[in-house]
């Protein structure tokens, strides 16, 4: 009992400390790092959204970047040429479009299981990639550059300035925390419990009378919508969208973030996003062929550390606690 409570408190302290660090971070100055951490937190939202599918519903999607890209393109396509778009119009629109896309794709893909699901999600994501890459609608491989950052004006009041790096940072931080809390609430609801039941034993859930197909579809739609949020924020931060946002590399990298942080843990998804970007930055500093190192690191990770970084932490803890008992 005591140790379980201790573990819970330890986690709460870790999360609290991380949050304080993130809140104070932009005050340290350095615009470059503020922008980098903003990018990481956007990826964390993306990883959180995928964790709902992979970690809690047991659906390994290799096409999650499609919804990230659709969210981003919604802003890119809605942004007027000669004036700024409104955050309050384009953000809900991006969520809606990504959600609808995920719902429609979900109608097809949640019918299949396991390895089929992996292949089919990849194929659908590639279809969206072609739609943006090969048609006039998506403006081809160059993508769309936006001339103006969206504005957050309501009437004559502007609560924050989206051209300001620190303001964007705090907006993204707030949305990342909101996503985290939202998913935590969802997972503790009967709906979330049912998803985890499906992950552990789909047949049993079905025989208990749960409409498994509908639950999976809801989970897929929700995950796609949240990925759309991440994509929207990415387009907002960089003022630029292109088809690479939907590429299978993007889908692979977000899966890698989950593995790094430990699948099936919301905190792990966030940690994984930070670990992934740190890894990528280190490798990029070493060589232009950094993907070679990244690939090799992934292979070693899978073979030697199946549980991700979280398993290292757990093993370390077990060793320490074990030693304490021995004494």
């Amino acid at each position: 009992m005591g140790s379980a409570r201790g573990a819970v408190n330890g986690k709460a302290i870790a999360i609290g400390a991380a949050l304080v660090a993130l809140l104070l971070f932009p005050l340290a100055g350095a615009t470059f790092y503020t922008e980098l951490v903003t990018k990481v937190m956007i990826l964390a939202i993306f990883a959180l959204s995928l964790d709902l599918l992979v970690g809690f519903t047991g659906l390994v999607s290799f096409g999650h970047a499609a919804f990230f890209g659709i969210g981003a393109y919604t802003l890119g396509l809605m942004a007027p040429k000669y004036e700024a778009a409104s955050l309050w119009v384009t953000l809900p629109a991006a969520l809606l479009v990504a959600g609808i896309a995920a719902f429609v794709v979900g109608l097809f893909v949640v019918r299949v299981k396991g390895v089929y699901f992996i292949m089919v999600t990849l194929a659908f994501a590639q279809m969206f990639y072609f739609v943006f890459h090969d048609t006039k609608f998506g403006r081809g491989s160059d993508g769309i550059s936006m001339n103006f950052k969206p504005v957050a004006t309501i009437g004559s009041y502007t609560p924050f300035d989206l051209a300001n790096v620190a303001h964007v940072y705090f907006l993204v931080l707030a949305l990342m925390v909101a996503t985290f809390v939202f998913l935590r609430v969802v997972l503790r609801s009967p709906f979330g419990r049912a998803l985890m039941g499906i992950r552990s034993n789909e047949h049993r859930m079905r025989s208990l009378g749960f409409p498994v197909y509908r639950y999976k579809l809801a989970s897929f739609t929700l995950a796609g919508t949240l990925a759309g949020l991440a994509g929207y924020l990415s387009a907002l931060q960089f003022g630029f969208v292109n088809p690479e946002l939907l590429s299978w590399h993007q889908s692979g990298n977000v899966l890698l973030m989950l593995i790094l942080g430990g699948v099936g843990s919301l905190f792990g998804a966030v940690v994984g996003a930070f670990a992934f970007v740190a890894l990528a930055e280190i490798f990029q500093a070493l060589t232009t062929h950094w993907q070679l190192l990244l690939g090799a690191a992934i292979i070693l990770l899978v073979i030697f550390l199946p549980g991700g970084l979280a398993s290292v932490a757990a093993r370390l803890k077990r060793t320490l606690v074990g030693e304490a008992i021995d004494e």
Partner: protein, 289 residues
């Protein structure tokens, strides 16, 4: 569309489909027998094409290049199975996906380091460089016909291998019940290694054969991989004959899609996949049980 144009497009579609079959059959065999999903399978196709390019310029003869290339790819398959994939049999799909994703990154960067990022052409062998005239203006290249014949012959050999040989019997037994095969004292690990090497060699061979027609370019592996996923999904995982039928269907659909609705060329096969998923989510040829 007149009858000759139709014929040419049909031949092109069948030829493309047969080529896809060579890649997809390895993918589906490796999954069906070893339970491994290998995203890096498309990389073997890419490696084959680059081997054709470099070995053909070294030896001056595409056929010599192909023979050397097949031997090298069998070795590559054996080494990869031994060093990496043999660790994955008991792991879940997520880890298999990630490891093979890492492998794709490694292969693509090695390709970029060794051969650069340019598009290369490979000359059609002189013997097959001619064309068969159909009308005054239309003709069909002999090399494409040759490709189709070779692919068909390989499909026939694959049939004989699986249904008429001892190894084939072990492969079929391994596909339906791995534990039982191992319990009966057959060396299932050897079967796995051979099947993996066979899959690698088939994909690399397809890449080598296609090199003179498709040219050799970065990203060719992923492109073929994703289409092969569509083939495997439509055909039913683990079913070789499903893969053959689905590959022909996709080859013809893609070719005619490009001619008839060029605006939607990229998405034809995916829409076909979506329609088939609605109709038969387990694929057209999924074996019962």
């Amino acid at each position: 569309m007149d009858v000759y144009t139709f014929l040419i497009q049909l031949l092109n579609g069948v030829q493309y489909g047969l080529l896809l079959f060579l890649v997809a059959s390895g993918l589906t065999l490796i999954f069906g027998i070893m339970g491994i999903i290998n995203l890096a399978h498309g990389s073997f196709y890419m490696i084959g094409a680059y081997m054709a390019f470099s070995l053909a310029s070294l030896t001056g003869n595409l056929f010599v290049a192909i023979v050397v290339g097949v031997v090298l790819s069998v070795l590559l398959g054996i080494v990869l199975e031994w060093a990496l994939f043999s660790h994955l049999y008991k792991r879940d799909h997520l880890e298999q996906v990630l490891l093979s994703y890492g492998l794709i990154l490694v292969f693509e960067e090695l390709r970029s380091l060794i051969a650069g990022n340019d598009v290369h052409g490979v000359a059609v062998p002189a013997v097959f460089s001619g064309s068969i005239p159909l009308t005054d203006t239309l003709s069909y290249p002999v090399y494409r016909l040759f490709m189709s014949v070779v692919c068909l012959a390989l499909a026939g050999l694959l049939y004989l291998l699986i249904h008429r040989t001892r190894l084939g019997m072990m492969i079929r037994a391994g596909a339906s019940n791995r534990e039982m095969v191992a319990a009966l004292g057959l060396n299932i690990n050897l079967v796995y290694r051979l099947v993996f090497a066979l899959g690698v060699a088939l994909a690399a061979f397809a890449g080598m054969l296609a090199a003179p027609v498709s040219s050799v370019y970065p990203g060719m592996g992923t492109q073929v991989l994703i289409i092969c996923f569509v083939v495997v999904v439509i055909g039913g995982i683990g079913s070789i004959w499903g893969a053959l039928a689905a590959a022909l269907l996709i080859g013809v659909a893609d070719t005619f899609g490009k001619v008839l609705v060029p605006q939607a060329a990229g998405v034809t096969v995916y829409l076909l996949m979506a329609a088939i998923l609605l109709w038969r989510p387990e694929g057209l040829f999924k074996r019962s049980g």
